[in-house]
Subunit: 410 residues, 2 copies
């Protein structure tokens, strides 16, 4: 490379997004980039001229290793959708003025659907206006909902954390006996795509029966049928564990978590509060069946748990970062790096680049065939797909008993 | 030993309680016990003659290693307080009839305050009625609230998980910028003792500023002062992270989590719902300050997270199990094994036995001197006390990407 590289992170953070950043940095340096800049808070920060020289922060190989083990977006992130080019030409001019001043040859953006939309618009603008900067997207999202790529970096580590935590919760749930049984509802992220919720099935094995029911957001949720299922299960076992997506909806389109709001929970200031999906269902079960219930939200923990990251995921995240720089260096623009699975067993997967116009704003959901007929569990095909992505560990670098992370830029 | 040993687990499960069970089993076998029985569901199960022969379940050294890495109570647990001896003599007769039939020489009970009360009553009864069976208690509780022992097995692993998770949450909280800032409230277990909540301070280090505020249940909580603190912090930083105990109370004695109920949240069936402490405070902050908030409950995860266990904790849990059998074999009864710290740095700790009459039902709380004057953070003394207990890891035995546990007895 003759010029400089700039890299940004966008959307919700993950446990693997910094491994992609480390991959971008390393490959850019290896290919001769003079400077590798990091946008603070994505394109939104760049517009305010917030960027850093990454070589001042990643000063040696150890820093790079620690960065790969640091959760969340090291550079800071944003949720910002660029306007259409014709809507605000001045904004695009401003961005390119900054890029040109920094002598940027390659612009790498690590993110999900909205980020790919940014890559698409910026590369379109560059072509229209005849500018040489190249724009490549690097997939990232725990939700695994990006089209065209077999899976997204970030998903494997979140899935591993979910499988591990749900297994530990199941273990715990069998300890104490309650007169009318115990029902535990675990709420998992993924508003429209059930990839993460389905990963609860990973808890199942020779040593654990796994969750009893799994409800994905792709299918309509029926509260009455759910209650009947629970009732039947409680006749057979003392502890029932259910994994639900935060985004499950009724037939009429309302989210289950909105039902809590119907019962007039208004806080001291008059604001209506939505209770969570799990806590709503747990309170329904407790009320109707009289059993003990627990509602557990995996919340932020599931996307930030670097201490439980998947080795395959962290390595692939690093690879796609490197592949993005390579693609730009070889002349590609307006592309996203994708992961292409060649085989499940032995697991083999490589990178390709695909046209970002085909990816942006297209949400990949769990196929209907990967959920059982009743809509209450994922199939073996689903598990076969996810299993390779959670293999191996990345030992945190422990300092004084706690994982060490790379110091955030200030 | 000439006779048999029986061991039970009681109270809330932890990540280390099965390591104590493994220690009991190993030492009992080493000392020549013919049979080592495990009570299912503690003394409550024993009363229904539910017990297993542990040698059928721990068949080799690998099983024992896996058991030490299995969270929650392997044998099942109970929350059951024995009546006073004079209140129900028949119950005691029944227990001793079972113990005598099984030729029990040593009865080991792994648990917290209530469990030590059980040891006290059973050993008193044995002395009164001149029976030879010996009763020894083995400390266990994530809450670390047992008297006379420097700390309790189970606490170190929970503290390590809390420190690690809070650090990851802080990392995550700085990624996205919100107009009026982000306030994250993390709710931690420990209704009366703040040991676990204080462990959130472990997140603090060269690479992380740690939580901004820590509120223990030992001190009165003032909502207005809290709001003012948050307001001041938001002037200086974009993300504020607060650790609160689930048991913080107002000056008038009401739990903060009860305040949610004052605002008439009644579910579809007319039952009043208590919202959690964190979600109540988060909704107050959102309403009054207009900033983005997040409420995160570490819930069951903090006591079941074997995948993040502390090596010191798992080893000490094993040791106290062994020491309990040794004490019984040497003629002790009505005693609890305690951990005695000899030095912080280098950390040195050994076991002793103490009279269970001095322990039972006495709750150890965080000393006032280990909380700052304002009551908003723990002191360095607190951290110095906890640090040695979270050192080292116990690598989970991973099978197909997920930690393997020992099969639960059926």
């Amino acid at each position: 490379m003759k010029g400089n590289v700039i890299v940004g992170q966008s959307g919700g953070p993950t446990a693997a997004i910094n491994s992609s950043l480390a991959g971008v940095y390393r490959t850019a340096k290896d290919r001769g980039a003079k400077k590798v800049y990091g946008m603070r808070y994505g394109i939104q920060g760049l517009l305010e001229e917030q960027y850093i020289d990454l070589s001042e922060h990643i000063t040696n190989e150890l820093d790079s290793e620690i960065l790969r083990r640091t959760p969340a977006a090291y550079l800071g992130s944003c949720r910002y959708k660029l306007p259409e080019i014709h809507e605000d030409m001045a904004l695009y001019e401003k961005i390119f003025e900054i890029l040109n001043r920094l002598e940027i040859e390659a612009f790498i953006y690590i993110g999900g659907n909205d980020s790919m939309d940014t890559i698409k618009k910026l590369s379109d603008y560059a072509i229209i206006t005849g500018q040489p900067t190249r724009f490549i997207g690097c997939p990232k999202t725990i939700d695994n909902d990006l089209a065209l790529t077999d899976h997204t970096p970030g998903f494997g580590s979140a899935a591993k954390y979910i499988g591990t935590s749900v297994k530990e919760i199941i273990c715990d749930s069998f300890c104490l006996k309650y007169n009318k049984g115990l029902v535990t509802i675990v709420e998992i992220m993924g508003r429209n795509a059930g990839w993460l919720t389905g990963a609860a099935a990973l808890a199942k094995g020779e040593d654990c029966e796994g969750p009893d029911l799994i409800y994905l957001p792709e299918l309509t949720f029926d509260v009455e049928k759910f209650m009947e299922k629970i009732k039947q299960l409680l006749l057979k076992k003392s502890s029932v564990v259910v994994a639900v997506s935060e985004g499950i909806k009724l037939e009429d389109g309302r989210y289950v978590c909105e039902l809590g709001a119907n019962v007039d929970f208004v806080d001291a200031f008059g604001h209506k509060q939505l209770t969570g999906t799990a806590s709503y269902l747990a309170s329904r079960v407790a009320s109707e069946l009289g059993c003990k219930t627990r509602a557990i939200e995996l919340s932020t923990l599931q996307r930030a748990a670097s201490h439980c990251a998947s080795r395959v995921d962290i390595l692939e995240a690093y690879q796609v970062g490197g592949a993005a720089v390579k693609a730009a260096d070889e002349g590609d623009s307006g592309k996203m790096v994708v992961l292409e699975r060649r085989s499940d067993d032995p697991y083999q997967c490589g990178t390709e680049v695909k046209d970002v116009h085909k990816i942006a704003n297209d949400e990949k959901v769990v196929p209907r065939a990967w959920v059982n007929k009743e809509g209450t569990y994922v199939t073996d095909e689903f598990v076969t797909y996810v299993k390779p992505l959670i293999q191996g560990d990345v030992a945190p670098v422990m300092v004084d008993g706690i994982p060490r992370h790379l110091n955030r830029p200030r």
